[in-house]
């Protein structure tokens, strides 16, 4: 599926740029209970996720670092989604999101923001940018 220039521009304008320009909790919080890197060595994008966990639930979460608009927007949206939910629910969310992102057809419904990210998978060559924080968080949570 090819995405036209106009469609991409519309997606960027409506969702990615606002999120990129006003990312959620974009701040280095080095004293968080957990910190992890979301890093893509192929392109150099690297975000630190600072997660405060209480009773197996994500309390406040922040992130910081450097990356393209899509990876930054994706990280920002991810953080907004996991704040206040349990680790178990976060794992489920990451898995479900990544599944819909990777497979040809979207099978589950998400809210508008996540749908936008999934729609962008057809913007060729950028799927790794979308995936970046989701895969990093999932890998971290699966470790225990």
């Amino acid at each position: 599926m090819v995405v036209t220039k106009e469609e991409v521009q519309a997606l960027y304008k409506a969702h990615i740029l606002p999120e990129n320009n006003n990312p959620y909790h974009f701040e280095a919080k080095d004293n968080a209970s957990t910190s992890l890197d979301a890093y893509n060595p192929m392109c150099g994008d690297k975000f630190q996720l600072h997660l405060n966990v209480k009773d197996d639930t994500f309390d406040t979460v922040h992130f910081h670092g450097f990356g393209c608009a899509i990876s930054k927007a994706s990280t920002s949206i991810l953080l907004r989604k996991i704040e206040g939910i349990s680790k178990v629910d976060a794992i489920a969310l990451c898995e479900k999101f990544l599944k819909n992102l990777t497979e040809d057809n979207q099978v589950d419904e998400f809210d508008k923001e996540l749908n936008t990210l999934i729609a962008l998978k057809h913007f060729d060559g950028r799927i790794d940018c979308i995936k970046l924080p989701w895969e990093a968080l999932l890998a971290h949570l699966m470790k225990g």
Binding site: Y39, P41, M42, C43, D124, G125, R126
Partner: protein, 400 residues
């Protein structure tokens, strides 16, 4: 018997009289594979990984789809078990250097067999020398068979690795790798299979065979030169360190230090042979046109027929008489050097190989220093065996 298989291969259109009996050296290329390479070079060419434009994206996607396809070809659902290399030789060297070197100590031993090709012989021999470990070469019987009880006795507590080929490129012996792997695993010994000669025709399902490492080359399975595969079982992936250092395999590079990606990406330093991967991928598509049992049946029929014809010629002696013979026969002609035989057969458009076939220790054990080798693939036919026989008979008459 398979029918009309020559029509897939342009070379037989150009040379309808060519009797190509050297597929163990390299198979011919079907049009499907040639066209895939042509298509890529003409209209899809781009470097992979770090490009975000359409050509580079689709090259990257197809490259990774090829990895998935190769994994599936071995029955693996994990494409990350597959690294692309430049060939069987390269794949085996990577395992010797990267996996076994750090695990092999003085007085340990590494085991191969006398049937093995130099590619699966010298890397282990040199490593054993370097480490002052023992290099054990399991002998064969006079017919060219591996005796499994002898092999089993060669494996002991100090054995750190077993590597062997599935099919001998010299004698045609097919070894029972399933059983051998099980034997070795009982003693916790990892096993590498050199599948160069079997990958095109045999089912090498990982779930049935449970090998730890597997190596093969594109050019012996209807694919192009310059591309090969190294399969590494999931449990060993973490133990594979880089072989070449360079771009594309790194996590972080600073002046002080470098950290690397995981297998398989840490093995693919530098620009890979992307067009080669495309060719290999369509070689698998080509193979999928056929039923593997039928391919083996076809080749087996030719080999049996050929054996019968050769035996019927006075002065021809087949080297080795393995119980389970694949599509390969080595022989000598009394009083005529293999080189001369091959040259004269060439005058009749028959392409065979003469020499040591990169198995010098094996031929030494069989008391010969060179043989004529014929090897069959799916495009060969019985009447080509008849031509071989007639030429040999004529040559022997001429020579005497």
């Amino acid at each position: 018997m398979l029918k009309n298989t020559k029509t897939y291969f342009p070379i037989f259109k150009k040379y309808p009289d060519l009797v190509y009996l050297d597929s163990a050296a390299t198979t011919q290329r079907p049009k499907l594979v040639i066209d895939a390479i042509n298509q890529f070079n003409s209209f899809e060419n781009a470097n992979i990984h770090r490009g975000v434009y359409d050509l580079s994206n689709s090259a990257t996607k197809n490259f990774e789809l090829a990895r998935e396809k190769v994994a599936k070809y071995l029955g693996s659902t994990n494409p990350k078990t597959i690294a692309f290399t430049s060939g069987t030789t390269n794949s085996i060297n990577i395992v010797a250097s990267s996996f076994l070197r750090p695990r092999l100590n003085k007085d340990d031993n590494v085991v191969i067999t006398l049937l093995d090709h130099h590619a699966n012989f010298i890397p282990w021999q040199m490593l054993a020398k370097e480490k002052e470990a023992e290099f054990r070469v399991v002998p064969i019987d006079k017919n060219g068979n591996l005796d499994l009880t002898v092999l089993e006795k060669s494996l002991d507590q100090k054995t750190k690795f077993l590597s062997l080929n599935h099919i001998s490129n010299s004698l045609g012996t097919t070894t029972d790798i399933g059983e051998i792997i099980a034997l070795a695993h009982k003693k916790n010994i990892p096993v590498m299979i050199d599948a160069a000669q079997s990958i095109a025709y045999y089912d090498l399902d990982i779930h049935q065979l449970d090998y730890d490492f597997l190596a093969f080359s594109g050019h012996k399975m209807f694919g192009p030169f310059g591309i090969g595969v190294l399969y590494v079982a999931e449990k060993w992936m973490k133990n594979i360190t880089p072989y070449n250092y360079g771009g594309g395999i790194i996590k972080d590079v600073t002046i002080e230090d470098t950290t690397f990606s995981d297998f398989p990406f840490n093995i693919e330093a530098g620009t890979p042979n992307i067009s080669g991967v495309m060719g290999l991928s369509s070689a698998i598509d080509f193979i999928h046109k056929f039923d593997k049992k039928e391919m083996i049946q076809h080749i087996s029929d030719l080999v049996n027929y050929c054996t019968d014809q050769l035996i019927s010629i006075d002065k021809v002696k087949i080297i080795g008489n393995p119980e389970n013979r694949s599509g390969i026969i080595s022989f000598v002609v009394d009083g005529i050097h293999p080189h001369d035989v091959a040259s004269f057969l060439n005058q009749d458009n028959i392409a065979v190989r003469a020499g040591m076939h990169c198995t010098q220790p094996l031929l030494a054990a069989m008391n010969t220093s060179a043989t004529v080798r014929v090897s069959f693939s799916i495009y060969n036919e019985r009447k080509e065996v008849d031509q071989l026989k007639n030429s040999l008979v004529e040559l022997i008459k001429f020579w005497s």
